[in-house]
């Protein structure tokens, strides 16, 4: 590492090289940080988290009890041991709180003035962070499993929503309309994701074992459907032809550059696809256990040497190298099933939040050094929690 620093200093190396080397080193040496804790607000499980893109300072979390909490991840106290406080909450006493569990939360990609949450009470609410009142409420006919706002969109402000219906609704933030519908799937849509490379490309995963990639400007059907056998009809049983997985597909994540797409399914497999052609790259990750009936939120690192994918696997987070498929490490620390993980862009601190049936939801941050944060959350089963203790590892000052 000193070699990299000297080379950077002398101008022999590109600055990007040092950054990449350092972020890879941090990811490879991730451990649970005992010094950071996160305020425990959620009584039950935490279903989803999101860190804002602009500063990486504020984190949203949505719980199984319908509560939404915003945390401040920065440590200004000067002390090593720090508890990340919650800035504000949309608690049960709020008039506009969701009635059932919140499934997805996402910050507005350009600033923290707004965030969108969707829940099993069949609504999606666009909240004003200042007043904590919903500026817009979209209602649907089925439970909303997932929604996503494009992080790079300039020409449109569409929110893609996946519900129990086999249709994908596109809701427009600017006009409040929700006329556009994408048809093609045959069962509930478990996950939707916009491409981080092209603002009109959307990928959707459904319980009918298919993953479809759409261009929202096109009026007729999807661009293509991902096929795990790459068109080789002889490999599969006849019902499994043209499917992405041999079970429900419940997790979708694009890599940072948008060139590849990772999908996870209840057949305990994770697959890497070329997002331009839909070809299965046939990287074999082995068994990636997945028992989720809802969507699985996982994260891919950005800017590391070999890219890493962090997938929640039962009560730990498994780290795989994206292109070779080898299991790099397993991050243990949660007491119960992990539901979602999110990577903080600047702090290589994986935070996992989980709610256990016996204990309460905890938010744990694993870190070695500050830089990239990683948050993983565990889904919680509906049980009355005992004392919830949230430990959020903060960046260790070295």
């Amino acid at each position: 590492m000193l070699g990299f620093l000297t080379a950077r200093q002398a101008g022999l190396d590109d600055p990007l090289r040092l950054r990449r080397a350092e972020s890879t080193r941090r990811v490879l040496s991730l451990t649970l940080n005992p010094d950071r804790e996160v305020d425990r607000i959620h009584g039950n499980g935490i279903n989803t988290i999101d860190i804002e893109v602009v500063e990486g300072r504020y984190m949203l979390s949505g719980g199984a009890d319908g509560v939404i909490v915003i945390y401040d991840l920065e440590n200004y106290s000067g002390k090593l041991h720090y508890t990340c406080k919650s800035v504000c909450t949309v608690g049960r006493s709020n008039r506009y709180v969701h009635k059932f569990s919140v499934e997805t939360v996402q910050w507005y990609p350009y600033d923290t003035g707004m965030f969108v949450s969707s829940s099993f009470d069949k609504t999606m609410k666009v909240w004003d962070t200042e007043t904590l009142k919903p500026a817009e409420v979209f209602e649907f006919e089925g439970n909303v499993y997932s929604h996503h706002l494009s992080p790079i969109a300039r020409k449109h402000s569409l929110i893609a929503v996946g519900t129990k219906d086999p249709k994908i609704h596109l809701c427009d933030l600017k006009s409040g309309s929700r006329i556009q519908v994408l048809q093609g799937h045959r069962a509930e849509i478990l996950s939707v994701r916009w491409s981080p490379r092209y603002e009109h490309i959307l990928a959707t995963a459904s319980a009918d074992s298919k993953v479809k990639v759409w261009d929202v400007r096109r009026a007729s059907g999807c661009l293509f459907s991902l096929d795990q056998h790459n068109g080789d009809k002889s490999k599969a049983a006849s019902e499994a032809v043209n499917t992405a997985h041999n079970g429900r597909v419940n997790g979708l994540c694009f890599t940072g550059d948008g060139l590849y797409l990772l999908t996870t399914g209840t057949d305990d497999r994770m697959r890497l696809w070329n997002s331009a052609t839909g070809e299965n790259t046939l990287v074999n990750y082995g068994k990636v256990s997945n028992g989720n009936r809802k969507k699985l939120q996982f994260a891919v690192s950005r800017g590391c040497g070999p890219e890493f994918v962090f997938v929640p696997c039962e009560s730990s987070v498994a780290v795989y190298a994206v292109h070779t498929g080898e299991l790099v490490s397993t991050l243990r620390g949660h007491y119960n099933n992990v539901d979602c993980c999110e990577l903080h862009p600047d702090y290589q601190v994986p935070t996992s939040q989980f709610g256990s049936a016996a204990r309460s939801s905890t938010l744990e941050v694993k870190t070695v050094t500050s830089w990239r944060g990683f948050l993983s959350f565990a889904p919680q089963m509906w049980r009355t929690s005992q004392k919830v203790q949230i430990r959020l590892p903060g960046p260790r000052l070295q």
């Binding site: 190396d13 490879l28 080898e326």
Partner: protein, 254 residues
């Protein structure tokens, strides 16, 4: 040292070795291009030929290779290469969507023809085998393909099914299969269940690999213990943990 050549991953090799966990009891294999073939040959020796009176070729399961080599993607790539060269054949065994059986093409041909000796269907089977080893990397065939590409008639297809080379997949398509492999599948599933049961019933559901190999097998386990161990480790039905006393196999609750 040429700075330009230094890869980012090189920086981590030193760090990993210093701080990484020691590997106890685990033997790492150098992965060269010919190593997959030698692993296949080694696993084939574990297959019991006497049990089936030499009527079956030696079958190795694809996931048994995963238990020996670390990099699954590399194993897959090498297998595909061997299949494209026409030296290896892959079969969908039927009891699991992921369980694929591998047989050397020469073995397969000789056993099938030996089984067809004196039967009327021999000629059709010979023709089919010639087309198959041309080389063909498909696991199943649809009616279209059989009629047009391979130029077989309906009655000939029936003959192939009767001889066991094709098994019904659904209306109008067939899996490639090994004749008389029903007994193999039955004994294999029985043996797998018995071995998994042995691991599960042990204290803490874990047992040292060396100890498991030493154990007396019940009459349910007809194959060599090592064959079953490679199978359950490769299929990730048990976790393989390196310890100071050797490799430990722990049952995975799923």
């Amino acid at each position: 040292m040429n700075r330009k050549r230094a890869l980012i991953s090189d920086t981590f090799k030193v760090k990993k070795r210093r701080n990484g966990t020691q590997k106890f009891g685990a033997v790492s294999d150098g992965d060269g291009p010919t190593d997959i073939r030698s692993t296949l040959e080694y696993l084939a020796t574990l297959f019991p030929r006497k049990l089936f009176n030499d009527s079956l070729p030696q079958i190795v399961l694809k996931h048994q290779l995963y238990s020996i080599h670390d990099d699954k993607t590399l194993v897959d790539k090498e297998l595909n290469k061997l299949r494209e060269q026409g030296e290896l054949l892959m079969f969908q065994l039927g009891f699991d969507a992921d369980a694929f059986g591998l047989v050397f093409a020469a073995d397969y041909k000789s056993k099938v023809l030996a089984g067809e000796d004196g039967r009327a269907t021999r000629a059709t089977v010979e023709r089919f085998l010639a087309k198959l080893l041309s080389p063909c990397t498909e696991l199943s065939f649809s009616k279209d393909k059989m009629l047009k590409e391979f130029l077989f008639t309906d009655s000939e297809i029936t003959q192939l099914v009767k001889s066991g080379v094709l098994t019904v997949r659904d209306a109008g398509s067939w899996w490639l299969s090994i004749p008389n492999s029903g007994k193999f599948t039955k004994y294999f599933i029985q043996g797998r269940k018995a071995v998994l049961g042995m691991v599960k019933k042990s204290k803490y559901s874990e047992v040292l690999k060396a100890e498991l190999e030493e154990r007396r097998t019940t009459s349910h386990v007809k194959f060599h213990m090592k064959y079953h161990i490679h199978d359950i480790v490769g299929a990730e039905l048990v976790e393989s943990i390196p310890t100071t006393s050797g490799t430990l196999l722990r049952f995975v609750d799923s």
